[in-house]
Amino acid sequence: MPENKSLIESLAELSKNDPSFRREMDVLFIETLQEFMVAFRQGMQQANLDTLSFAIHKIKFAVQVYGIQNLYNEAEKGRQLIKQNQSSPPIIQQVISQVGQLCQQQINQLKQKLGKA
């Protein structure tokens, strides 16, 4: 298995391109993103670093599998704002909205793909 393959390609190869595996992975990723959005919003609004750290850590693996590192990076920026106490309600709302949009965009794409499958 060449080193330069993405994890998603390697997994597809391992599963012998089994569509049910990919489908299950997509469904679980949608659930992961939905749960993350709730936890992230709550963590930002309550300035709860534990909630934020746990939520962000939990999506790290899945977003790497799907190659959407920017979502992780944006969420991490929000966590840093809370950690450094540099946030105001409008900034918090902006970060929540930005991260939410990235999640929703991914969810919509996957739902569309699942709908076509």
């Binding site: 298995m1 080193e3 994890l7 390697s10 997994l11 391992l14 599963s15 595996f21 299950e24 992975m25 679980l28 990723f29 659930e31 992961t32 746990f54 850590h57 939990k58 790290k60 693996f61 899945a62 790497q64 599998v65």
Partner: protein, 145 residues
């Protein structure tokens, strides 16, 4: 290692029955790990928390050949769970940490509490399989000793 020997060892390991316990609270990770373990014909058992892992090992001492442990678990962490598995349950089999944190301190803490190795997420199938083969082979030798 020659390709022939490599293939022979893989074939031998695949023909054995290994029991693997995966301690992780995330369904997405369960799916990926299950898929990766299919290469070894392993159908893992899952514990969703450290407490559940302790219970499963306590109820079935000697059952598991290897444990894959998420470090960042809710309530009882993977580090604390490992310490308890080693001390209270006297579990001797390899415990391999699964973590998305590649910091040196994390690795040191993982090894300090009694885990044998660390795999960094996202898991790369080729390095995952190399490590699995190493520990399964070691386990087989221990069983046959």
């Amino acid at each position: 290692m020659s390709d022939n020997l490599d293939a022979l060892i893989t074939k031998q390991l695949k023909s054995e029955v290994f029991q693997v316990l995966v301690v992780d609270d995330d369904d997405f990770n369960h799916l990926i790990i299950s898929e990766l373990l299919k290469k070894w014909n392993i159908n893992p058992e899952f514990a969703l928390s450290g407490e559940q892992a302790l219970e499963m090992v306590h109820q079935n001492p000697g059952k598991f050949d290897l444990v894959l442990m998420d470090v960042y678990l809710p309530q009882m962490s993977g580090l604390e769970t490992t310490q308890k598995l080693r001390t209270k349950c006297d579990l001797k089999v390899p415990i391999i940490a699964l973590t998305a944190d590649s910091m040196k301190d994390t690795r040191e803490n993982i090894l300090k509490v009694g885990m044998n190795d660390v795999m960094i997420k996202p898991l790369k199938p080729e390095s995952f399989h190399q490590k699995m083969r190493h520990y399964l082979q070691q386990r087989l030798e221990d069983k046959n000793a």
